[in-house]
Point group: C2
Chain length 155, copies 2
DNA sequence: CGATCCTGGACATGTAATGTCCGTAATATG
DNA sequence: CATATTACGGACATTACATGTCCAGGATCG
């Protein structure tokens, strides 16, 4: 049970896009900045575009730019854009299988196990939604040179 | 990013073990009760045993029994017994790779992204730890026949 | 002793994330 | 208009890990 690596890629890339300013940046440059696979990062960026977090502009001098300020992008937005909004705990309804399943009446409501797991997952999602990328940028800015390095690499 | 199916297996099996009472039950019967793979469920039960949630007794008429009452087993106990205690968000330290990594000074503290993710994950773990299996048994008991069926199947 | 059942490692299989490739469409530039 | 550049998206290949199977021990009961 591990979160997709693409989430980390997306978060750093979004932060970099913010530091560079307005102009669109190509996926190649963004990948090179962190030594990532260009094609695969491009796929992740497409998902961010579909989710409305970035805007893609084709053509020469094209690339990706932020669709809205970091204040309006939460961690949950990024996680759901990359991972989708599937449940962490996915029920197989094993209560309906085997001997117990055969002897039991068909279940009428959602099971207690599933409900409990859902509650915990909801706490996680709320904690993700409560933190925006601007908060993280704030902590990042306390380290010197970061902004300058990003600008140098991405021009 | 999906939780291992073994967690669902373990939860149901623990609840079944409680309903049957004290005596040990073989992994074969427990698997048959829900139509699961006997060998694989056995592996999961071994992990529960290592985590101290169940006690294994070898020999004829052996099997597994609860190590402590359901009041003392939280959802977090089960999840960590099966999944291990690895982080949901596992950092690859890509900030140290690529052009940005080369130009940046070696990072001194844990990064802000990782910290934020850890906070959210902590909320999840706390929500898991706040719910014990006895709560779930309580909800389950509102459905008639459940207890009786389990006793019939597992003798 | 012999049957039963857990233990634990080795191995096979399935599935999803990760990574690559290439043809297509869109657009800036000359 | 011609061309180069870039995103788009589908079709693969590769890798990692969960899932499932099997077998040779070891413990325990009768
Ligand atoms: S009883 Fe709950 S956890 Fe078990 S299979 Fe059904 S929904 Fe899933
Ligand atoms: S900066 Fe944070 S999220 Fe990025 S690689 Fe380092 S620890 Fe991971």
């Amino acid at each position: 049970m591990r979160m997709a690596k693409g989430v980390e890629w997306a978060l750093h890339t979004l932060l970099n896009l913010d530091m560079i300013g307005g102009g669109p940046v190509g996926s190649g440059q963004l990948a090179e900045a962190h030594g990532l696979s260009a094609s695969y990062l491009n796929k992740q960026l497409q998902q961010l575009a579909r989710a409305g977090l970035v805007v893609s502009v084709p053509g020469p001098r094209g690339g990706f730019r932020l669709a809205r300020p970091l204040e309006a992008i939460t961690l949950l937005d990024v996680v759901e854009a990359i991972e989708g909004s599937t449940q962490l705990f996915h029920c197989t309804e094993i209560r309906c299988c085997g001997k117990i399943g055969e002897l039991s009446p068909p279940p009428t409501d959602t099971c207690a196990v599933n409900a409990a797991m859902r509650r915990a997952e909801e706490a996680w999602r709320q904690a993700l939604a409560a933190q925006c990328l601007a908060d993280i940028r704030g902590e990042l800015d306390r380290v010197p040179m970061v902004r300058q390095v990003v600008r140098t690499v991405l021009e």
